[in-house]
């Protein structure tokens, strides 16, 4: 069985940080060949921790142009191997090549897969004459790595994403795919099996895009991609669609800017295309092919989707949270019945032999275990993070001890004071308060101690809880200055929700207010009784136990309420809008308000209602 995964990681470094290490990231995908796109690595700052992982061989292509200052696009293919040398694994390629044009292999030892040669300058329909320089430019953005696995040739592709009206980039994208097509056809003519995986930035059909507009399929690139597929006379099977021809709402990419995850407002642009004959010895029959005979399954790995699918936190105009993870979801394909390949070694174009990796990884370890080159290179990548974790453990641990001691004592006194108050509610709140204090003030440290307890073998669950906690800490919501306080007095209709929210929001504030000094107790009860009409809000702030403070608090509640009410509401949900300002054009800098909800299919009333209104400011001159 061979499992291939494609994943647009949207920056390999952040994904490595998210999972704790490259090894964990790769292991979590559990595949023999893992193809990453948008690694956003530049050649200059490659380092072992994002390229080298024990048990994997990497093949990478970085952007070589000045676009995005190098930190742009980039693809990487990781192959799970039992040994880097003398292996029969299909996952370990026999040859690898950066780029697709065959022009990049200037070094003599770089084997060009299939001896592909383009006559330069070449002619292409619709594109006119193409010079060597232009093609080289198209091939230098780190968008393709080809690995020849003996039985098949695998293309890891990051297709250009372009604005429809950017003529230069449209030509770029067209050239990219036309030359790729030539390469595929060349290999297929040699009888090779060709697999194309990656983020092509093309959704082939209307079914692959939420709310596809009319004429969606007419676009040039979508037509081109469909023409590559078997149903339209091309050589490839779109593995996912061929396995699941009817499945709707299967998307792999979600626009970050509109919170598209929340309502599954996505598109399917990450593909696995396969072409070629099967391994059976009866090629005469029509329905024999690598797809029909060997592709067992192809699925979107939805568990890698950002955000919590169970308890989807609201997007709120992107203000409340940054979702952790890539804006894409990985896709996998499982092949069975693929025979082993003859004994072979890691090709010389592997990342382990890059001077950037090799040169920098000279550490003491390499002197201790001479002869075992692969461990040498893997070593630092693995060891360094551990060391760092240990260091921080030590220092943080000290701090955590002192802090927790202090907090413990304050917590206890507060708690014991709480016990004096004869209201069970107050007691509970104090307990909550104590817990809150502990977890919010100290969560970092407790995590570290957790890690320390696990020692070197910090288990996956350990890191997971860390990232969760960290998530929470990153995600406190910003109440508008009003919701912080009071339930609204006016407009009972649309104020209901906010009153619910605000009463709970007040939670932490109440907690602290519930531990007054003993002598002020009766007074507090009086004042809260006077203040609250009918709610069980028996925790009006009174810790400073002065009337003045109460007045100020109430006054602030009123102010914050007013502030919230003056925020425009959207027509779809009557919820407060979020402000945006015009970024370009004649109205630059002008403020407007839009619906705060995430974008979704137009059929879903819960999704963004497209409300728009200018902030109400008029020039006085115009009025007259």
């Amino acid at each position: 069985m061979v499992k291939i995964v494609t994943y647009n990681v949207n920056g390999l470094r952040p994904r490595v940080a998210q999972h704790g290490s490259l090894r964990r990231l790769l292991d979590s995908l559990d595949a023999d060949i893992i193809c990453f796109q948008e690694t956003k690595l530049s050649r200059q700052d490659l380092s072992g921790d994002v390229i080298m992982a024990e048990g994997y061989e990497a093949f990478i292509s970085c952007n070589r142009t000045s676009r995005g200052r190098g930190v742009y696009s980039g693809v990487a293919t990781f192959c799970r191997v039992s040994s880097a040398f003398a292996s029969q694994d299909v996952a370990l390629p026999v040859a690898a090549e950066e780029g697709f044009s065959g022009l990049q292999g200037s070094a003599k030892d770089n084997k060009i897969i299939g001896d592909f040669v383009l006559e330069m300058p070449m002619e292409e329909e619709d594109l006119g004459e193409i010079t060597r320089e232009e093609l080289l430019r198209v091939d230098s953005e780190g968008r393709c790595i080809i690995t020849d696995h003996g039985h098949f040739v695998l293309f890891n592709i990051y297709g250009p994403s372009i604005g429809e009206d950017d003529e230069e980039r449209v030509r770029f994208k067209l050239l990219f795919y036309k030359v790729l097509q030539r390469r595929w056809e060349f290999l297929l003519a040699l009888g090779k099996r060709v697999f194309v995986v990656g983020d092509l930035n093309i959704a082939p059909s209307s079914i692959d895009r939420c709310d596809a507009p009319p004429g969606f399929e007419k676009q040039m690139f979508r037509e081109w991609l469909r023409s590559m597929l078997r149903e339209h006379g091309g050589p490839f099977f779109d593995a996912f669609r061929s396995k699941h021809p009817e499945r709707e709402g299967a998307y792999t990419c979600f626009n970050q800017a509109v919170g598209a995850e929340e309502f599954n407002y996505g598109s399917r642009i990450d593909h696995i295309l396969v072409s070629g004959v099967c391994f059976h010895h009866c090629n005469s029959v029509e329905d024999h092919s690598i797809f029909h005979c060997h592709v067992e399954d192809c699925e979107i790995m939805n568990r890698f989707r950002r955000g919590d699918p169970e308890n989807n936190s609201k997007w709120k105009g992107g203000r409340s949270s940054k979702l952790e993870g890539s804006d894409h979801i990985p896709v996998y394909m499982v092949l069975n019945g693929i025979p082993e390949v003859p004994l072979h070694n890691t090709p010389s174009s592997a990342a382990r032999y890059l001077p950037e990796i090799r040169g920098r990884q000279q550490s003491i370890v390499s002197f201790l275990s001479k002869g075992k080159t692969y461990e040498v290179e893997d070593g630092p990548g693995l060891n360094m993070p551990r060391d760092r974790a240990n260091e921080s453990c030590c220092s943080d641990d000290l701090e955590s001890k002192s802090i927790s001691k202090e907090e413990l004592s304050t917590g206890i006194t507060e708690f014991s004071q709480g016990v004096n108050i004869p209201s069970p509610m107050c007691k509970r709140r104090n307990l909550d308060h104590w817990l809150n204090e502990g977890s919010s003030g100290n969560s970092q440290n407790s995590n570290v101690t957790l890690l320390a307890a696990h020692g070197m073998k910090a288990s996956f669950s350990g890191t997971k809880s860390m990232s969760n906690k960290r998530n929470k800490r990153n995600l406190p919501s910003q109440p508008t200055i009003k919701s912080f306080f009071q339930r609204p007095e006016t407009k009972p209709g649309d104020a209901n929700i906010s009153s619910l929210v605000s009463s709970v929001d007040t939670g932490p504030a109440m907690d602290e207010s519930c531990c007054p000094k003993d002598d002020s107790l009766p007074e507090n009860i009086q004042c809260t009784a006077a203040v609250d009409e009918d709610q069980d809000n028996s925790n009006m702030p009174c810790s400073l136990s002065t009337d003045k403070c109460n007045v100020a608090t109430l006054e602030w509640q009123r102010i914050q309420q007013r502030m919230k009410m003056t925020l425009p509401v959207c027509k779809g949900h009557c919820e407060p809008c979020i402000p945006r300002s015009v970024k370009k054009g004649s109205n630059i800098g002008r403020l407007f308000y839009v619906c705060a909800r995430a974008q979704g299919p137009s059929s879903n009333p819960e999704a963004n209602c497209n409300h728009f209104q200018w902030a109400s400011v008029k020039s006085k001159g115009k009025r007259q």
């Binding site: 998210q18 936190s313 203000r319 949270s321 940054k322 701090e399 304050t410 204090e437 919010s440 003030g441 970092q444 929470k472 990153n474 995600l475 406190p476 919501s477 910003q478 109440p479 508008t480 200055i481 009003k482 912080f484 306080f485 619910l500 929210v501 009463s503 709970v504 929001d505 939670g507 932490p508 504030a509 602290e512 207010s513 702030p541 810790s543 400073l544 002065t546 003045k548 403070c549 007045v551 100020a552 608090t553 006054e555 602030w556 102010i559 007013r562 919230k564 003056t566 925020l567 407060p576 402000p579 800098g589 403020l591 902030a615 109400s616 400011v617 020039s619 006085k620 001159g621 009025r623």
Partner: protein, 263 residues
């Protein structure tokens, strides 16, 4: 008829640089007591209050209360045309739809008039109550500004915790965590470099660094910043403007997402 002559014109320039990022349009209110402004940021999360008392002006004439709506970006553009030593005079006629800024060079050899269109802005004045705070921190404004800037390269929020020992600013982000502790320090030679903590009760609150960072744009106005914290109240970040007034920023603390989810 309104005529306000401010010898230290640079103060007004600094005031505009301090608030124009947070607030796009606002009403300036002139009365017999002074020149003031109260405005919310566009997401109605933070509040700015500015006061320049009439005594601080060399000449202050305000025949009747007047509210002038201005686009702060445009006003800042005009004030940037004034030299740092220039005397600035704000002039407006009753019922006029423009305001005039007059810049005089110190030796009176150059006089510039800039007339700006006023805007109609719906806004309502909120009476901000006086209150007592659990903790008040006074510290060098440059220090506070530096801390907010540094922490925002790590995380989105800052937890400000005040204890007897000092004030702690902490954050956490994808790349790690940061903690900065400033201890009470009254013994410096220059009072503007001191850090003074008045604390009734320990307090710990979380704020969005985005807002804190835009508050610190007021640092050029004053060597010291005063941060007043209470668990039930918005934080107040105050910069004194010489002897003549202040600029105060109010921001409600952030609350943990969990609390909201329970709702």
């Amino acid at each position: 008829m309104l005529e306000l002559r401010l010898v230290q014109g640079s103060l007004l320039k600094k005031v505009l640089e301090a608030i124009k990022e947070l607030v796009t349009d606002a009403n300036f209110d002139c009365s017999g007591t002074g020149f003031s402004l109260q405005a919310m940021d566009s997401s109605h999360v933070a509040l700015v209050a500015l006061l320049l008392r009439s005594e601080g002006f060399e000449h202050y004439r305000c025949d009747r209360n007047l509210s002038m709506g201005m686009n702060l970006g445009n006003m800042a553009k005009m004030l940037r045309c004034a030299g740092n030593d220039d005397i600035i005079t704000i002039k407006a006629d009753d019922g006029s739809d423009t305001v005039t800024f007059m810049f005089e060079s110190p030796n009176q050899d150059k006089i510039a008039d800039f007339e700006m269109k006023l805007m109609d802005i719906d806004s309502e004045h909120l009476g901000i109550p006086d209150s007592e705070y659990q903790a008040i921190v006074r510290m060098p404004s440059s220090e506070f500004s530096r801390i907010c800037k540094d922490l925002s390269s790590i995380g989105d929020t800052v937890i400000i915790s005040v204890t007897k020992e000092g004030v702690k600013f902490s954050t956490a982000g994808d790349i790690g965590t940061a903690n900065i502790v400033c201890r009470q320090n009254k013994t410096v030679d220059k009072p503007e470099e001191s850090t003074i903590i008045e604390m009734q009760e320990p307090v710990s609150l979380t704020f969005a660094l985005r807002y804190m960072n835009s508050f610190t744009k007021a640092s050029p106005l004053s060597d010291q910043v005063t941060i007043s914290l209470s668990s039930e109240l918005p934080v107040v970040v105050e910069y004194k403007i010489g002897e003549m007034g202040y600029i105060r920023f109010y921001l409600a603390p952030k609350i943990e997402e969990d609390e909201e989810m329970k709702a």
